[in-house]
Amino acid sequence: MTNTIGDVEEADVILVTGSNTTENHPVLSTFVKRAVKFKNAKMIVVDPRQIKLTKFAEQWLRPNLGTDVAWINGLMHVVIAENLHDKEFIEKRTTDFEKLKSMVEKFTPDFVEKITGIPARQLIDAARLYAKAKAGAILYCMGITQHTTGTDNVKSLANLAMLCGNLGIAGSGVNPLRGQNNVQGACDMGGLPNVYTGYQPVTDEAVRKKMEDAWDVTGLPDKVGLTVTKMVPMAHDGRVKAMYIIGENPLVSDPDLNHAEKSFSNLDFLVVQDIFMTETARLADVILPSACFAEKEGTFSNTERRVQRVRTAVEAPGSAWDDWKITCEIAKRMGYPMAYKNAREIFDEIAKVTPSYAGITYERIDREGLHWPCPSQNHPGTPILHTEQFTRGKGLFHAIDYIPPAEQVDDEYPLYLTTGRVLYHYHTGTMTRRTDGLNERAPESFVEISAQDAEKFGIENESMITVASRRGEIKVRAKVSDMVDSGTVFIPFHYAEAAANRLTNAELDPVSNIPEYKVCAIKLSSAA
């Protein structure tokens, strides 16, 4: 997030898109709801599903799946046409406004309505509302990113925020809501193929030299590595031979699971480090048992870049170890000693090699976490980014055209599928499905289908049906619901036994390599 969670209550207008906040970030949603109910903030929800937040919204725009660039360009078209853009901000802090302006020219409300299904009138009202806000915050989540145009979608939201000067001040910003407890931290720590900690590029010789010195090694690789979404097909082709998987369950969370299963089975060697015998662990040659979050010391970095302590409450079961200790012991046996007494020693090394974490210590975050960048020990941390300038100096407008989703409906696969989570479960369910109460509330997978489609395809509410895509099929219970519009169905992806990801499309965004989980074409039939 460019801003903080608490900052949401400072906004006059909140634009929420591709985030079912009350179910996926319930506590953050309380800030949004309070802003609306008690602080007179107006909310615009743009989402294909009638999520709970729509009840709190001033306006709910319901776009067709995968048409985000079109409606965002449409909003910008109206903002510019009605002269509502923030000329001073654009002049002082950005470049390439003219390129953006000419791109969005064709995205008239009528043109956008044809692509997105959003009535022109609603688009105009929403554009006025957001543009006139003193402070407008944008919150988004995987509904924006998990598309073949995910990068375009995010850049478009950044365009919109810059156009209206909604960056660098309290209550504004472009705020991705990170879905996993430490996804921010895993990125910050360089758990990515192109960067070391704090986003220092592996292709930068000076950075590599610095890391070589810090680690006392030579010959650190200079070529950008593979993303998970590239590793899997390369395992399928036999070009990736071994994998070491820590605390992840790609055999439920990956797209196009039937293909992924073959890929992992094809490896010469697979080692999985986890707290449970997951679907992925079953395929491993070696399984290494690790301690869970309640059993270890360390830090997580949350969605607002706040680095917070994790503390040991109970002992790990049996002979399970801390993840870092397992990794260090493998390193030692491969001839490179990685000897740390405890997590704190590792954190001190992180601070040493990472400018944005340099000022953070366990002592400083003992009672309350700090937001990075925090470059020195007397720096208070940075709750709001880009207050004076952007990381690259001036903010760059990107002229982006609309590209439809990779897979379209046709006669054989006449409905769109979109996927997501439910309140009571978390990701692949390995943790939440071991709590009886949560299972009682959300025992099994389901497919949300509109009443019109249920009638059209002869589907009875609560009956078991088969959902099939070009890649696989699953059996799930039908749930006739007004959450979805006709033409679209929704399935949560938590349930391994009816894994939505057997259906999803592994087509990737060309820049971020994120799969298009949010749109694919499917058909329904009564289960035999």
């Binding site: 969670i5 506590v27 309380t30 709801k33 309070r34 998990q146 990170r178 879905g179 407890n181 931290g185 895993a186 720590m189 360089g190 758990g191 650190l220 690789p221 950008v224 590595g225 593979l226 993303t227 998970v228 990736v240 071994a242 070491y244 820590i246 969370s253 491993a284 040659d285 070696v286 399984i287 869970c292 979050f293 309640a294 360390g298 949350n302 969605t303 917070q308 302590r309 994790v310 079961p317 002979s319 801390d322 397992i326 493998i330 390193a331 046996r333 491969m334 990685m338 740390y340 997590a343 954190f347 992180i350 309350e368 309140l423 978390y426 943790m431 939440t432 071991r434 709590t435 509330r441």
Partner: protein
């Protein structure tokens, strides 16, 4: 200092900011005024009357949580009238239900007889689940108000145990309304309200409909703020606060990073509560964060390294499993090159764990093939 607003509390003069309530000023200056229904971050209502104080020159007592401080005001927080009022308020609350916790030993009964009677009334061998962690009990003890006159007051509404997380014991509800405020003003789930009138008044959740059809999301904010034994966690009903140790940590579900307190007893987590004194969540949690911790102590946890042989896993020592892993990774690296190996680190583990995996991949394996599930 002409424009300075001042107020006198118990004979001492204090400055205050316009808009502060009497309670705000007292708290800032470490003067204890008991409160009960007041909930930080919500609109004060003065509903319970326990925070009543006397203002010089005013005939009636006022509730300090929703009376604004005014320049020159002289406030008495523990005057005879105030104490009498509080005793009356506490007595009224004790009379409303089954508050048989012997805050003051009954005069003529032996302790054993008294306990036996309580067990019979409660239909449980345990004392009230909130015993020792109850605001009403604390206040009754402090002001020496006995509940013995009101023993065995029957509630109109039976205990509700139908939902998987929270037990609702109406016989111990004092209708303070903190749960109503928490649900409507903090979580904004709008699922809890006061219902019915007069003697039938009760806290209604989800329109008083059966659980399945209600709008309740079980965030448990109501549980967290209940000052008495009316709402207790089903799984930790009789876990006594004084037997557990609190450990502050960060929730492991979504990216909000709520601060939590583990309540630990005998190496087991018995419950989780939200940390009220700190960002980002100031005490709030969701259903997963508050109740979804059973996996930690699950029988299914992996407890020993496993090696697959002929398609089946067998137990192995750490030394063997680590040795085999190092050997196979080295062989594959030598035979096919470093880039034939991929590492998936995790958005679930700590920064320290991630850093170790990152360093291992680059410094030992010598590849940049490292990623995690940020995209998935």
């Amino acid at each position: 200092m002409e424009n300075q607003n001042t107020i006198v509390i118990n004979g001492n003069r204090f400055n205050f900011t316009m808009g502060d309530t009497i309670l705000d000023v007292a708290r800032k200056n470490n003067i204890e005024i008991p409160s009960l229904c007041h909930l930080k971050g919500t609109m004060p209502t003065g509903n319970c009357w326990i925070c009543a104080v006397e203002i010089a020159g005013q005939q009636d007592l006022v509730t300090s949580c929703n009376t604004k401080a005014a320049d020159g005001m002289r406030v008495m927080t523990e005057s005879a009238r105030v104490v009498a009022s509080r005793k009356h308020t506490i007595k009224k609350m004790l009379s409303m239900g089954n508050h048989n916790c012997a805050v003051r030993a009954p005069h003529e009964e032996s302790w054993t007889q008294y306990q036996l009677k309580v067990h019979q009334e409660d239909n449980s061998p345990e004392l009230c689940p909130a015993w020792g962690d109850c605001r009403l009990q604390d206040l009754a003890y402090y002001y020496q108000v006995s509940g013995s006159d009101y023993s065995n007051v029957q509630s109109l509404y039976p205990m509700e145990m139908a939902n998987p997380f929270i037990i609702r014991d109406f016989s111990r509800c004092i209708l303070c309304g903190r749960c109503v405020k928490a649900c409507n003003e903090i979580q904004v789930n709008n699922a809890i309200e006061f219902g019915y009138d007069g003697d039938r008044k009760k806290i209604v959740a989800g329109d008083d409909k059966p659980l399945k059809n209600s709008d309740r999301v079980f965030c448990g904010e109501c549980l967290q703020v209940c000052p008495v034994g009316a709402l207790v966690p089903k799984d930790a009903r009789f876990e006594r606060q004084w037997e557990t140790e609190k450990v502050r940590s960060t929730c492991s579900y979504c990216g909000v990073g709520c601060q939590i307190d583990f309540h630990v007893k005998d190496n087991r987590i018995v419950k989780i509560t939200g940390a009220e004194d700190t960002a980002p969540n100031y005490g709030s949690l969701c259903v997963k964060g508050r109740f979804g911790f059973n996996f930690v102590h699950s029988e299914d946890r992996l407890t020993t390294p496993l090696i697959k042989e002929n398609g089946k896993f067998r137990e192995a020592s750490w030394d063997e499993a680590l040795g085999l892993t190092a050997k196979r990774l080295s062989e594959i690296k030598d035979q096919y090159g470093a880039d034939s190996i991929g590492v998936l680190t995790s958005a679930r583990v700590t920064n320290e764990d991630n850093y170790a995996a990152m360093k291992f991949t680059r410094a030992v394996l010598k590849t940049n093939n490292i990623d995690h599930c940020a995209r998935l």
